[in-house]
Symmetry: C2
Subunit: 277 residues, 2 copies
C-alpha cells in the first residue's frame, strides 16, 4: 500500500496530510513555522513534526517510504531548498513554493488564474496542466497590491499629507497619531516587517476616507492590469486567495469569471505528490 | 576675540570650520562619518576630531569657549540628538539636520526653495529668514525622486518586465543579468542599503532606453509637483543640491528661476553659529 505526504508550510505554521493511493486523507498534523529561507533547520524540524503527527493519526505507513511534496514559503531561494532537500527522510521529496501548491489546490485540474493577495502577493496561471508563477518578488521590489505594500503606501501618504504634499484625511491623521506623529511613523517604517505594515491594510477597506479610496483604487487598477496581462484575452476564471482575496474579488467582479478556490494548498501538495508517483 | 565652529556631518564624513567674528574662516578640519542616528559615539568622536583639526589650523581659540552649530545626518532622531548634546564640550552647541545647514548654505539670506536630491531627498523653504524642512522621510516611506528610490524603481521594473508585466528593454535586461537574474535581483533587494540602490540611478540618465525614460519622467513629474506645492504660486528661486541635483535642474528648467547654491552646508552651519551669538 503506498501513501503520499503533502506539506503546506509558511511563516506562521506548517500543516501535513497523508493520503492513500485513492487520494483519501488518512492523517493530518500541524507544527510551527516553515519559511525555509528564514530558518531552514527550524523549518525542517517543524515539517518533520507535522509529518510525524499525521503519521500517528494515520496509524500506518513509514516516512522513508513516502512520496512527499512540500509547498513552502521561501522555496524560491534555491540554496535554502537545496539545503532542506538534503535533510529530508522521505523516499522521494519535491520542494515547490507555497504559491504553487496554493494555486494547484485552488484550481485543481482546471485552467485558470490564481491571485494570492495576503501579506505578500503572487500570481499563477494554469493552462493545459502547466502552472507558471508570476510576481511574488517580495515586499521591497514587488508584491503589488499586497497587504504589506498597501499598509506602507498608507503610511507614506500620511507623511506626505503631514507635509502638505497630499490632502490630510481623518484616516491619515489617525494613523499618524497612533504612531506618535511623523517621527514615530518614520522610525516604525524603518523597523517594520511586512506583516507590521500589512496590519494597516484593513484600515483602507472601510468606506468613506478619500485617501483610503484613492490608495485602494490605485491598487485595484494595478492588480486588474496584471491579471489582464496574464489573461492575454483568454477570459480564464480567476481565483482570489489570501486575507485580501475576498475584497479584490468583490471589487473586480465583471471583468472575468471569478471562482472560489476548489481546495487548499495542502490539497495542492497531495495532488502533486500523487502525480509524482 | 570670539570664534564660531561649524560642523557638517553625514554618512561618509564630517567637516569642521572655525570662523572669527567677521565670518572669516581661520581653520578647517575633516574626519570620518557623523550620522548620529547610526552610531552616536563614533559620530561624536569624528566631530571632535574634525573640530580639533580646525583648531590646530586656526592656532587660536578654545573649543569650550566656542559657539558651535552642527548640521548632522540623523539629527531628526530626537533621542540621538539629545545623547550627542550631552557629550559635546562646546560653550554652546546647537544640533540641526544637515538638510538645514545645506539649505542655509545654498540660499544664504535669500528667500528660496532647496531640493537636495542625493541618495535620499529632502526639501526646504526659506522665506523672511524662516527655514522649514519638508520630505526627507527616508527610503522606506519617502525620499521621492532620490537616487535610492530611482534605483529601487529600476530594479522593480526589471522584475516586472521579466514577468511580462512591463516591456523589456536593453537596460532592464542588462540590470537583471548583472544581478544574476530575477532571483539574484530579489536577494540583492532584500539586503541592499539605500546607497546600493542609488548606485543604479545614474543608469537612468543615459538617453535612449524606454524604461529609463519612463521612470525618470515619472520622478520629474513627482518632484515638480512637490516643488509647486512648496512654491504656492510664489515663483521662489529653486536651488538643486546633491548628486542628482544638476540633472533635475537641467530637466526642470523654465518652471521657476533655478539658481546655483551660494555656499556649502559648512557655510550654512557657520552662518547659523554667528546668528546664535
Amino acid at each position: 500500500m503506498s501513501y503520499f505526504l503533502g506539506i503546506d508550510g509558511g511563516g506562521t505554521g506548517c500543516r501535513a496530510a497523508i493520503a492513500d493511493a485513492q487520494g483519501r486523507i488518512v492523517g493530518r498534523g500541524m507544527a510551527g513555522p516553515a519559511n525555509i529561507s528564514v530558518e531552514t533547520q527550524e523549518a525542517c524540524a517543524n515539517i518533520l513534526a507535522a509529518a510525524r503527527a499525521a503519521l500517528a493519526e494515520a496509524g500506518q505507513g513509514r516516512l522513508d517510504q513516502m512520496t512527499a511534496v512540500l509547498g513552502l514559503a521561501g522555496a524560491n531561494v534555491t540554496a535554502a531548498a537545496r539545503a532542506l532537500q538534503a535533510m529530508l527522510p522521505f523516499r522521494r521529496a519535491r520542494i515547490v513554493t507555497d504559491a504553487v501548491t496554493a494555486a494547484l489546490g485552488a484550481l485543481g485540474q482546471d485552467d485558470g488564474i490564481v491571485a494570492a493577495m495576503g501579506t505578500g502577493s503572487v500570481f499563477a496561471v494554469q493552462t493545459g496542466g502547466r502552472l507558471r508563477q508570476y510576481g511574488g518578488r517580495g515586499f521591497v521590489l514587488g508584491d503589488e497590491g499586497s497587504g504589506a505594500v498597501l499598509g506602507r503606501t498608507l503610511l507614506a501618504e500620511a507623511l506626505r499629507a503631514e507635509d502638505g504634499f497630499a490632502p490630510m484625511t481623518p484616516l491619515l491623521r489617525a494613523v499618524l497619531k497612533e504612531l506618535g506623529g511623523a517621527e514615530g511613523a518614520i522610525s516604525f517604517g524603518f523597523r517594520a516587517r511586512p506583516a507590521d505594515f500589512a496590519a494597516f491594510a484593513p484600515r483602507l477597506l472601510a468606506p468613506g476616507d478619500a485617501a483610503a479610496e484613492r490608495i485602494l483604487a490605485a491598487a485595484l487598477v494595478q492588480v486588474q492590469a496584471m491579471i489582464e496581462v496574464l489573461q492575454a484575452g483568454r477570459g480564464l476564471p480567476v481565483v482570489f486567495l489570501g486575507g485580501l482575496g475576498p475584497h479584490y474579488a468583490a471589487r473586480l467582479q465583471g471583468h472575468w469569471p471569478i471562482r472560489p478556490p476548489k481546495g487548499s494548498g495542502l490539497d495542492g501538495a497531495l495532488h502533486l505528490a500523487r502525480q509524482q508517483a
